[in-house]
Amino acid sequence: MAETIAVLFIFFLMIGFGFIFYARIQRTSMQETTSNNLDLESIEVTQRVSFLPELQCSSKNVISDNCIDLLKLNSLKNRLTPEIQQQMYFDVFKYSNITIIQLYPLPEKRWTLYENIKVDSPSVFTPVPISLYNATAKTYAFGVLEVRFYS
């Protein structure tokens, strides 16, 4: 009788350990999936900003990739009030912080285009090198589009 109890005790102990082990693995795997989804969503938002018609350089209806028109950028920035951000761009950019920085020629210039931060939430940072086109002077500056996406 005592032996059977001992065997059953060990058996249930093992099942218990197995269950704890399985639960931990499931938790890790779920964290990994969440992190992957966050990465993919951040790529999506970065692509949306890069190809935003409101910002893209174009000449005679021909779009140049990887280029932001400074006139369009300044115009959009002035119009993007917090209300418009919320009403018209939340579906596009969700919870993110989008900044465009001119690195060369100096002085460094910075435009915060969209700001909708989710405090205490994990975030992913994606920098994308871009050209900044000055249509008045017909010159290109070197810049970086920085997107911080919050889950």
Binding site: E3, V7, I10, F11, M14, G18, F21, I25, E32, S35, N36, D39, L40, S42, I43, D65, N66, C67, L103, Y104, P105, V124, T126, P127, V128, P129, I130, S131, T139, Y140, A141, F142, G143, V144
Partner: protein, 174 residues
């Protein structure tokens, strides 16, 4: 009687040992497969490849302080006239030196800030052998390096010059 009980308990112990062996085997298999599983590289691959191509495209289009010439024009001048003098004078620097300094500054502000190792090579390209012409490397960044040791994302651009085809090659190491 005692022998029969002893035999029975021995059988039970054997069964228990069998279960333990099975669980251990399962655990070993699981750990082996987990270790072999590669972490997702979707974002890394995307950002690194986009970084390399965008960086090179934007870089070559950029107008510099030197007579408002683009880096493409400076590199063309550098390949065509080289040292000791170039046609474009950049406040006492040759077009080669100025292009080198400008690219190094931009890389310092971008790739080095993002903790990316990189390798840039500017050379006259032999289109037949698909290699840089011997002794025709204009410069490399970081200076005196030969390339990434591990994985890399590459991007290249070709610029036509009167001295031949100029190849600009950028590797981002990771």
């Amino acid at each position: 009687m005692t022998t029969r009980f002893s035999k029975r308990s021995q059988m039970e112990l054997l069964g228990l040992a069998f279960v333990v062996v099975l669980i251990t085997l399962g655990l070993l298999f699981y750990i082996k497969f987990q270790a072999a599983k590669q972490p997702s590289t979707a974002k890394k691959t995307f950002t690194e490849s986009q970084k390399a191509s965008n960086l090179l495209n934007s870089l070559l289009k950029t107008n510099t302080y030197c007579e408002d010439a683009t880096l493409t024009q400076l590199l063309q001048d550098c390949a065509e006239h080289k040292v000791p003098s170039s046609q474009i004078d950049c406040d006492g620097y040759t077009s080669c030196e100025f292009a080198n300094r400008t690219i190094a500054y931009i890389f310092q502000q971008t790739l080095e800030e993002w903790k990316n190792d990189y390798f840039l090579e500017v050379c006259l390209w032999n289109t037949i052998t698909q290699q840089c012409l011997p002794d025709e490397t204009l410069f490399t960044l970081p200076p005196l390096t030969t390339g990434c040791s591990g994985q890399r994302e590459s991007s290249s651009q070709f610029i036509p010059t009167s001295s031949g085809v100029l190849k600009i090659w950028l590797d981002i190491c990771y």
